[in-house]
């Protein structure tokens, strides 16, 4: 380890990475187990001339980050389960109006107030379908401290590149981890910013598809004076109910992510070359799964893991291939099977899907996974 290594918690890394990615605005409302992120942001933002505001609830917090982003300032909010639910209507607004921003959800047990201080991966589907209507989704699920830093920066980059709200899905264990780590050199970071219009205001349309599926974005107060609405709109930004325009626009929204899937999907193979049993995992459960794989390998079992660093979109083609090849697939999750349900659809009875679903608030132990590996043999 280099000399510069220092102790970081997961929460601090979200804050640090956000600021390194250029985030200068945080709007939030405290909720366990995400509050430390707010606390770090309240300390760090003024130092770089940024703004922290604590709003009256998560709905308002989500509103502030959309407003700040429209004014040209990269923005973050962080929350947990119940707060994530409250944000959903305005998250839909950010999709519809194509406003870049990052929502960090430190998952806890649900539904409702559920298990405020316990570990869960309860919101994997809420990240995908939490708001009403169809929309593209990018959700990241880091499992290690270094990865929190890396993927938080990526979350900001994705939001700026595709003009969408991006979900950074931590679980309680990941957010509260603390260890000495080295961060990448500032100079090595790749930071993306929204594409600005190249035309003068008279020629600018806020949702102009002439430049591709992601329209260039003018910030407020830069002379472009355009209109932003959550209503279905045409390229000028004004409401329309023309069925063809609305259909085409919804399809474009989905295309923004679907056509760039190869640049977004992100996974890691662990001992997969000869694997007959495959574990699909993400977040902290992937850490347990890794130990289980190591242990099983010691007894000569051919097992490997595919770990999703980005949970939405999933690498469909690779999953389909594995479903055709694996003798069994094990999906450990801290929920009742939110990913397993999806994997089951891909598998379409070609292989056995073994679920491990813990929602009691205690981590899935490597032994729990090991037992299922034995069962799969």
């Amino acid at each position: 380890m280099k000399k510069s290594a220092r102790f970081y918690s997961g929460a601090e890394l979200v804050a640090k990475a956000a600021i390194d990615a250029g985030c200068r605005f945080y709007g939030g409302y405290p909720i366990t187990p995400s509050s430390e992120i707010a606390e770090f942001m309240s300390v760090m933002l003024p130092k770089v001339g940024g703004t922290y505001v604590q709003m009256e609830d998560e709905i308002a917090a989500m509103g502030t980050i959309i407003g700040a982003s429209l004014a040209g300032v990269k923005s973050l909010t962080a929350t947990s389960g119940p707060g994530f639910s409250l944000k959903q209507e305005n998250i839909g607004y950010a999709y519809m109006a194509e406003v870049p921003c990052v929502i960090c959800n430190v998952m806890r047990g649900g539904p409702s107030t559920g298990l405020p201080t316990a570990l869960a991966q309860a919101d994997i589907m809420q990240a995908k379908w939490g708001t009403h209507g169809d929309h593209p989704v990018i959700a990241l699920t880091p499992a290690y401290l270094e990865e929190i830093y890396e993927l938080t920066i990526k979350a900001f980059n994705f939001s700026e590149i595709y003009r969408i709200p991006v979900m950074l899905m931590l679980d309680e264990v990941i957010a509260h981890l603390s260890a000495a780590i080295n961060l990448p050199e500032k100079e090595s970071l790749v930071i993306k910013d929204r594409r600005k219009p190249s035309v003068p205001p008279e020629k600018y349309f806020p949702y102009d598809t002439a430049y591709g599926d992601v329209p260039p974005m003018a910030n407020f107060f830069e002379g472009y004076r355009y209109h932003v609405t959550g209503l279905s709109h045409d390229k000028t930004g004004f409401p329309t109910t023309d069925p063809e325009l609305v259909q085409a626009d919804q399809e474009r929204h989905l295309r923004k992510v679907n056509w760039k899937k190869n640049e977004i999907v992100d996974y890691e193979y662990y001992l997969m070359k000869d694997a007959e049993i495959v574990i699909f995992a993400y977040g902290s459960t992937a850490r347990a799964a890794r130990v289980a794989v190591d242990n099983a390998r010691k007894s000569g079992i051919k097992v490997g893991m595919m770990r999703f660093r980005v949970i939405w979109p999933l690498p469909e083609a690779e999953i389909l291939k594995l479903c055709g090849r694996a003798k069994a697939i094990i999906v450990p999750e801290m929920n009742m099977g939110q990913l397993s349900d999806v994997i089951e659809r891909y598998a379409a009875d070609r292989t056995k899907i073994i679920r491990i679903n813990h929602v009691g608030g205690v981590p899935i132990h490597p032994t729990d996974i090991h037992n299922k590996i034995r069962e799969a043999l």
């Binding site: 605005f25 130092k47 505001v53 308002a60 502030t64 004014a71 107060f221 004076r225 932003v228 959550g230």
Partner: protein, 283 residues
């Protein structure tokens, strides 16, 4: 010389979607004249609204306009303002938007005393959704959801704003567009959170249910209820039941009560935050 509304309007978006004779138009005009009065550059203004008939106004204004979700306009506007504290923020809300679904944001924006102006068009009803009662529908009146007469008590939006900490609060009716203009202008000039309530007619939804389905009779009803603040001060509370007090809800020396003094705004929010940044960066 006639006022050049065209200077501030997106003329290609006209005709607007409001019913002929709707009170919202008068408020919009008063607001545009106020922009001219204070001389703001169109590029430096953001007009923000929620959802409702009133909230459609920004679409017609040639500025940076933001039509948000129902009740949440103030939170979006707070984000814009905090990102660019030197810009001018104006929020346009209906009575339902501002005080029902958005009531929490309303009192907190007042408390923060953040530098922006909220114009509430109070037509005593949910206009856009077809005429259901709102937190300002007077007791006894009919709407589509209070057909036996409303029993749901009302808010006085101005008193609420004052109690919550807004630093400029005023109310005028759409019968007096010039007064409305004066108050909105003062709101723009106030460094802090300003609330201007425009008592307006929605003859289509509210009027229809209460035997005043045309703009004239609806505005006559508004007139019949209006009591200027100076006069109201000489009246008994019981006489003011079912009346609407208009004027500037400032508290002059004589009027200042112990509680108002105790609860007066301490500072404007963005200025206070700028001081934090300064302090932190000095270290």
């Amino acid at each position: 010389m006639a006022f050049e509304y065209e200077k501030y309007l997106r003329m290609d978006k006209i005709p607007h979607l409001w019913c002929p004779g709707c009170g919202i138009g008068i408020v919009l005009k008063a607001m545009l004249r106020s922009v001219e009065n204070v001389g703001w550059d169109k590029n430096d203004i953001s007009f923000v609204s929620g959802i409702g008939c009133t909230s459609r106004a920004p679409g017609y204004i040639d500025c940076n306009t933001l039509h948000t979700t129902h009740g949440r306009a103030l939170s979006f506007a707070t984000g814009v303002k905090l990102a660019k504290p030197d810009k001018n923020l104006v929020v346009f809300s209906g009575d339902g938007d501002a005080t029902a679904i958005g009531g929490n944001h309303f009192i907190h924006a007042c408390r923060r005393n953040i530098d922006m102006t909220l114009v509430v068009v109070n037509n005593n009803v949910y206009g856009m959704t077809g005429g259901q009662h709102s937190p300002t529908t007077p007791i006894g009146y009919k709407t589509n959801t209070t057909i036996y007469g409303n029993i749901d008590p009302t808010f006085d939006i101005c008193l609420l704003a004052k109690a919550a900490g807004a630093s400029y609060v005023a109310r005028a009716t759409v019968n007096k567009g010039r007064v409305l203009e004066k108050y909105i202008t003062k709101g723009f000039q106030n460094k802090g959170f300003s609330v201007i309530v425009a008592t307006a007619n929605c003859h289509t939804q509210f009027g229809r249910k209460n035997k005043m389905s045309d703009p004239i009779s609806s505005r006559k009803w508004i007139e019949s209820r209006e009591i200027p603040l100076e006069k109201a001060r000489t009246m008994k509370a019981a006489e003011l039941k079912d009346k609407v007090i208009t004027g500037e809800f400032t508290t002059d020396e004589a009027e200042t009560t112990f509680w108002e003094n105790y609860n007066s705004p301490v500072h404007e929010y963005t200025e206070a935050y700028a001081k934090i940044i300064e302090k932190v960066q000095e270290k």
